[in-house]
């Protein structure tokens, strides 16, 4: 799994929660909730979607690490068994 694959899967997860998002205009370094209208239920559902996509259980204490798209990708790379094959050179 490359980081591009992960990015695509994270965006797909977000889109299942917020179908109206435009992935192109989403800035990867800006908190998602500053760009997309997500209430706490939506955000929890996003966490559940990431759980189903990557087999990771993101604890509440790590929510601050996954506030941005970049943060989500980095968290998945570091924690997901599916993403374990990501190599630094993969892009």
């Amino acid at each position: 799994m490359t980081t591009d694959d992960i990015r695509t899967a994270v965006l797909a997860a977000l889109r299942r929660v917020a179908p109206e998002i435009d992935p192109v205009s989403l800035r990867t370094e800006v908190p998602i909730r500053d760009q997309v209208d997500l209430d706490s239920m939506d955000f929890l559902n996003f966490m559940v979607e990431l759980h189903e996509a990557f087999g990771i259980d993101i604890p509440e204490s790590a929510y601050k690490d996954v506030s941005t798209l970049d943060g989500c990708i980095a968290y998945v790379v570091a924690n997901s068994p599916q993403a374990a094959k990501v190599k630094p050179g993969d892009r």
């Binding site: 109206e20 706490s40 239920m41 929890l44 509440e60």
Partner: protein
Amino acid sequence: MPANDPGASGATEFRMPSLGADMQAGTVVTWLVKPGDHVKHGDVVAEIETEKGVFEVEIASGGIVDELIVAKGAKVPVGTVLARLRSDGAPPAEVGAAAKAPAAIVAPSPAAPTPAEPPTKPASVTPAAPAERPTIPAPVTPSGRVARASPLARKIAEAKGIDLTQMKGTGPNGAITKADVERAALQPEPLARAPAPEPSIRPPAPEPLARPTTPPGTEAIAAMRHAVAAAVSRSKREIPHYYLSADINLGPALQWLTTQNQSRAVTDRILPAAVLLKSVALALRKFLGLNGFWTDGAHHPAEAIHVGVAISLRGGGLIAPAIHDADRLSIDQLMRALSDLVRRARSGGLRGSEMTDATITVSNLGDEGAASVFGVIYPPQVALVGFGNIRERPWADNGMLGVRPAVTATLAADHRATDGHYGSQFLAEIDRLLQAPESL
């Protein structure tokens, strides 16, 4: 809700329900039963579309479906007889037999007295034998209107990759319904059972080359806006509101939640919203005066506590379906019910009873919301509890100034039913319960 009286004849009528104070009429989107089918209390028998979406409507009384009076696709006023039933074992309906029967629909909202003739109307008014009565036909769809579709239809179309602009609807004003989309998904199967005119026998509708400038869904949003406008206008016209607010320290509740959630999978996590709902439901047990309705000039407190949850819909709109018996659910059950309710509110599948049964409404602005909300009571309910965002605030306690996560709880209540002193005690009870979250 009124008990269902089977009546001496054993026959009952299933009427267009009022799925809220704002509903004047509804459209039968789909019949899920046919004559001869056995149904029992609580069975979903039809899908009804209102300005607020499509709802699965349950029946209150069991029996055998005798006759479907209103065809799918037809829009009829609240209270219109949609179908007749006879009791199990009874012969098919006889002349006038059904006219004495009580309305069979679950939970007619006390909000909206049905404009149709009362069930007790003399049989002589009912013309002809039920069996001979012509089925109310679906309206002919005006051609060219292709943008209207029910929320459920849109969702199914999206899932199945169907282009709604290429379809003609059989719903009100040509709206595309769930059934239409499902038929389209089955193409090239002929549209044999469609009550609406066959597209092929009509002159080809001029498909606009340029799409209207309004994006799809705009009309659905406008209809939703209209429904909300009707309800809040009635509320502010009829209900003398009083408002109270109280700041509540959520330190203990959030600490308890954090500990709980640490040991839980992400799929079992509990949100503060569930804790707040539970505190309201439990507090209502001691303050039933705020739980119930004001109808026919009198206060009718309810015993059962069905908490309506205000849910804002993506793209606009507001809906407040009920969580039944919220006070009797554990926090885990309540969280699951809330999650399920939000999901169905946004993607379809709400029950008619969920739209009619709420005895109070809770509006939770969430953690991105404003500090407090002084709500508009949903008639004929008598109270609305609001929660603003949860944020850290300076908190004076025991002569010390500290910082606590806190929420502003508000009460908008009907002054005809209760007074400010009573409401104050209710908010104080919510506060008291939230200080001992482990016993919620």
